[in-house]
């Protein structure tokens, strides 16, 4: 685990509150605005930042994240610019962990080793690569771990007893428990079932468990955060960015609306265990 990630979860455990993990799409609606959003996230209550890397064919994502990715690509977002965003963020913030999230092909084309070296240099802490299951660990996971970068794995409701150890092996940073079978931004998860699943995974690992997919409101975040070590919110943030745009361009409300939403959900996360 990177030092930043370890420190962050240790601090949160001390405060007895779950982590608020925020996903947003890098480069949406343009580079400058998304840097501004990113820089504002910790102040608005984000404990860990997931920085989305756009891909033309995001097979596990719902309509809002698909659309955000296409907007970002149209504005020229790519891996070098993703690293630029991380560098810009690190100018003011040395403590908030940054996790890159996306699909494998752009990384494979960039060169896996070069991707990891550049990510490390820019100040990235880990990555979630949706289409790299444990069966494909040799591609990126093992080289990432050897550089002390976190490789965060998804566990899902379909991850059964037999498969769980395989999913947990080589996972580091945190485990991202996908609360529903489905795409991002779909149906809301049932807190009771999520709590059961989280307890089940916790019995097998000491790594923090963060829960995401379908969490949109402060109330939902609070309910999920009771059992989980962290709550991930993505599509709701990305949709707020989208709603603030005019002809796909940012307006004066884009950054403020987005951070306001983040702050309101953060409130829910913070009260989860009170």
């Amino acid at each position: 685990m990177t030092q930043r990630m370890t420190n962050r979860f240790a601090k949160l455990a001390e405060e007895n509150r779950p982590a608020f993990v925020t996903y947003f799409m890098g480069g949406d609606p343009n580079f400058e605005t998304s840097v501004e959003i990113m820089k504002g996230l910790p102040q608005a209550g984000a404990d860990v930042i997931e920085l989305g890397m756009p891909f033309s064919d995001p097979m596990a994502d719902g309509p809002s994240i698909q659309a955000a990715g296409l907007r970002a690509l149209k504005q020229g977002q790519n891996l070098p610019r993703t690293f630029d965003m991380v560098r810009a963020f690190r100018e003011d913030d040395q403590d908030t962990p940054i996790v890159l999230m996306g699909y494998y092909n752009p990384i494979y084309q960039y060169g896996s080793e070069k991707f990891l070296d550049d990510a490390k240099e820019a100040g990235v802490d880990g990555m979630i690569i949706v289409d790299l299951p444990p069966e494909m660990d040799a591609e990126l996971c093992i080289p990432a771990l050897s550089r002390d970068l976190n490789f965060i794995r998804l566990a899902t409701p379909t991850t059964d007893e037999k498969r769980l150890p395989k999913v947990l092996s080589n996972t580091s940073g945190f485990v991202y428990y996908v609360s529903i079978n489905g795409i991002t931004g779909a149906a809301a998860p049932k807190p009771d079932e999520v709590a059961k699943s989280v307890a089940h995974i916790k019995a097998k690992t000491d790594i923090p468990i963060c829960v995401g997919f379908g969490v949109r409101t402060a109330e939902q975040a609070a309910a999920i955060g009771r059992a989980a070590d962290g709550v991930v919110v993505g599509s709701a943030i990305v949709s707020t960015v989208a709603d603030s745009l005019k002809d796909d361009k940012p307006t004066k409300n884009t950054v403020s609306d987005t951070l306001k939403l983040v702050a309101s959900i953060a409130e829910g996360v913070r009260t989860a265990r009170h």
Partner: protein, 405 residues
């Protein structure tokens, strides 16, 4: 890329589901248990005499196999070179080779206890074949089809509806096969417990490339026997069109270890390889990861997938089955592009010379036959896979020729 020649070209994939570096299982975790379950189910099924005999029965009595191997006498005379044979999979029930795969997979779905079928389709041939087997076995069926294809293949859309399938018109991206496959994968991730994803081509995560190839290999196996019977020897050349590559791998696979048989796969060259309006992933693409497998892809410098373009909806896919990528890199199979205009000419030629209206997909293979046969000796033999009939394409052809019908 140069890859060392293996002892046999017919042993793949390996335990990891890879053909050399190609193939694999690049999918979201939600799907992994299902894919492993499918792998198990298929391993058992292919050794189960009951499964094999049920499939054989259906192939024979439902599809009408074996499909004939037909000597195209007038075309041969016209071209003035090698003897041209057609493997006539366009005579199958539903009008293309797609039914071979669908019957195999629906039997797997049944064994796995799934209760709902989803499929993607480009030209609509696989959608029709999926809807057909779903009707035959009493399953609800949802077919994802790009909006552009829904328009240009409207007869097939109506056929699917008649067969009781639901059609979801996909507007994301350019609204073609790639986008339909993305939507089908999203459906599968959401309904993974009860749903069987009936992939139509020899691509996707392992074990799909392997099992689709195996179900389609009935084409090549029959062909070996039939050409022996007709000519007393193996052909000199095999030619088939490749979109995802299922009809081609079905014909090629049983011949891969026969050195004397030259093998040619024909990609959609669209309006030419210099622009971006083509689908020649092997000739003009490079290896990448999409839809669960590593394979040659049309993509930009940063790994974003590009839309293909072809007059033939069935070839309009920016990827290719992983085994074809490996066969290209090992040099066992030659892959060449054919332009829209060449395919259109070949289409018309076959109508007039042989009284056969071919689909636009095999019309690409036919255009390559038209180029190669005249350069070969008269005692040489070409077998081409005539994998689909062209009724579905008459509107597209009329439009391309500027004729109103």
């Amino acid at each position: 890329m140069n890859v060392q020649s293996p002892n046999s070209f017919r042993m793949g994939p390996d335990e990891e589901g890879q053909f050399g570096i190609f193939g694999g299982r690049f999918v979201a975790e939600t799907l992994m248990p299902n894919i492993l379950e499918l792998d198990e189910a298929y391993k058992k099924a292919k050794r189960d005499p009951e499964f094999l005999s049920e499939l054989e029965y259906l192939n024979k009595h439902y599809t009408g196999r074996p499909s004939p191997l037909y000597f195209a006498e007038r075309l041969t005379e016209h071209l003035g070179g090698a003897k041209v044979y057609f493997k006539r999979d366009e005579l199958n029930h539903t009008g293309s080779h797609k039914i071979n795969n669908c019957l195999g997979q629906i039997l797997l779905a049944k064994r796995m206890g799934k209760t709902r079928i989803i499929a993607e389709t480009g030209a609509g041939q696989h959608g029709v074949a999926s809807a057909t087997v779903a009707a035959r076995f009493g399953y609800p069926c949802m077919v994802y089809m790009g909006a552009k294809d829904v328009h240009r293949q409207s007869p097939n859309v109506f056929r699917m509806k008649l067969l009781g399938a639901e059609i979801e018109s996909v507007t994301a991206g350019a609204g073609t096969l790639k986008d339909a496959m993305n939507e089908a994968l999203r459906d599968w991730v959401t309904n993974v417990e009860d749903t069987y994803y009936l992939i139509g081509t020899a691509a996707g995560p392992h074990p799909y490339p392997e099992l689709v190839r195996d179900f389609q290999s009935v084409i090549g196996k029959e062909c070996r026997e039939q050409i022996q019977e007709a000519e007393g020897r193996l052909p000199d050349m095999l030619i088939a069109s490749v979109g995802g590559g299922s009809n081609a791998i079905g014909l090629f696979h049983p011949f891969l270890d026969d050195d004397s048989v030259q093998i040619v796969g024909v990609e959609a060259g669209g309006k030419g390889l210099e622009g971006d309006e083509h689908c020649a992933s092997l000739t003009a693409g490079r290896p990448g990861v999409l839809h669960g497998n590593r394979t040659y892809l049309l993509q930009d410098a940063e790994g974003q997938i590009e839309e293909g373009a072809s007059i033939s909806a069935g070839l309009d896919y920016p990827g290719i089955g992983p085994e074809h990528s490996w066969l290209k890199d090992t040099g066992r199979v030659d892959y060449v592009p054919i332009m829209d205009t060449e395919a259109l000419e070949a289409f018309q030629l076959l109508c007039r010379l042989e009284g056969i209206i071919p689909a636009l997909e095999p019309s690409h293979a036919l255009a390559e036959v038209v180029k190669r046969a005249p350069t070969m000796d008269k005692d040489q033999i070409i077998v081409m896979n005539l994998c689909g009939r062209g009724d579905k394409d008459v509107h597209t052809v009329a439009e391309a020729l500027g004729i109103e019908i």
